[in-house]
């Protein structure tokens, strides 16, 4: 018997196991929360060394990014991420992982065309649209200010 694409879509939906949402959310909450708490501790540490608010925030980002890159190199980040999902994806550490992992993996195509050229295959859009949106915001501010 021939089934239509619509009937088949229905069949597929019934047979495909959905992701375990509740379990995934608990993991994401716990790990994401833990990374943010660690970030808070690092922020407080940098403030204690005498950095001002802004510099301490930058230093915290740099520290977390360095830690995540190290964990990526040690192949631990992906092991945590398998369970944590958004918990490791959404914090700035996920940004670092998305830069370090293609850099490492595409080393086989050379340090120029592999590592360097592929470094922002995943994270590139974040910068493009993040910076793009901030410039739009700035231009709006300029015109509102005038």
């Amino acid at each position: 018997m021939d089934v239509t694409p619509q009937e088949y879509e229905q069949m597929v939906r019934e047979q495909s196991k959905p992701s375990p949402l509740l379990r995934d959310m608990v993991w994401a909450f716990a790990v994401g929360g833990a990374i943010c708490t660690l970030g808070q501790a690092i922020l407080d540490f940098w403030k204690k060394t005498g950095l001002n608010e802004k510099d301490a925030a930058s230093a915290t980002s740099i520290t977390l990014i360095g830690l995540a890159a190290l964990l990526t190199g040690l192949h631990l980040y992906e092991k945590i991420a398998k369970h944590a999902g958004a918990g490791t994806l959404v914090p700035i550490t996920g940004f670092s992982n998305s830069v370090a992992s293609p850099a490492l993996e595409f080393k086989s195509e050379g340090l120029i065309l592999g590592t360097a050229a592929k470094m922002f295959t995943i994270a590139g859009p974040v910068l493009v649209y993040g910076i793009g949106a901030s410039i739009v915001y700035g231009v709006i501010l300029v015109f509102l200010g005038v």
């Binding site: 909450f29 980002s61 490492l104």
Partner: protein
């Protein structure tokens, strides 16, 4: 107290994006991009700054916070130097994070070997 706020707010932001991952076909790259842009917008309309004051790293460490950094940077720079600031402010404020990602990414590639997943 700051630590509990950071944990709870950071955790909630991550758990909400988990719903997007599980319930939609959005790829991680799309979700991250949306989060950064959303961070810029929320900061622009004044919602995100109070959240940062309340949760600290709980609001700045997720990628929404990256958008917040960009937007705050632009705001300060525009106040100082007008239109030029719209172009310099965001990247200047995020420079530490972006440069660190490039540098540590390169370092990771140089120091480690690709390995199998199991």
């Amino acid at each position: 107290m700051q630590y509990i706020n950071a944990f709870v707010v950071g955790g909630i932001i991550c758990a909400l994006s988990q719903i997007l991952i599980d319930k939609t076909k959005l790829t991680p790259a799309r979700i991250l991009t949306a989060y950064v842009v959303l961070g810029v917008i929320l900061t622009a309309i004044g919602i995100y700054k109070p959240l940062v004051d309340f949760a600290g790293a709980g609001a700045t460490v997720p990628l929404l916070g990256f958008g917040y950094t960009l937007a705050e940077g632009v705001k300060t720079a525009v106040a100082e130097s007008g239109l030029l600031g719209a172009f310099t402010g965001g990247a200047k404020a995020a420079a530490g994070g972006i440069s660190a990602a490039v540098f540590f990414g390169l370092l990771t590639a140089l120091l480690f070997r690709p390995a199998d997943k199991s």
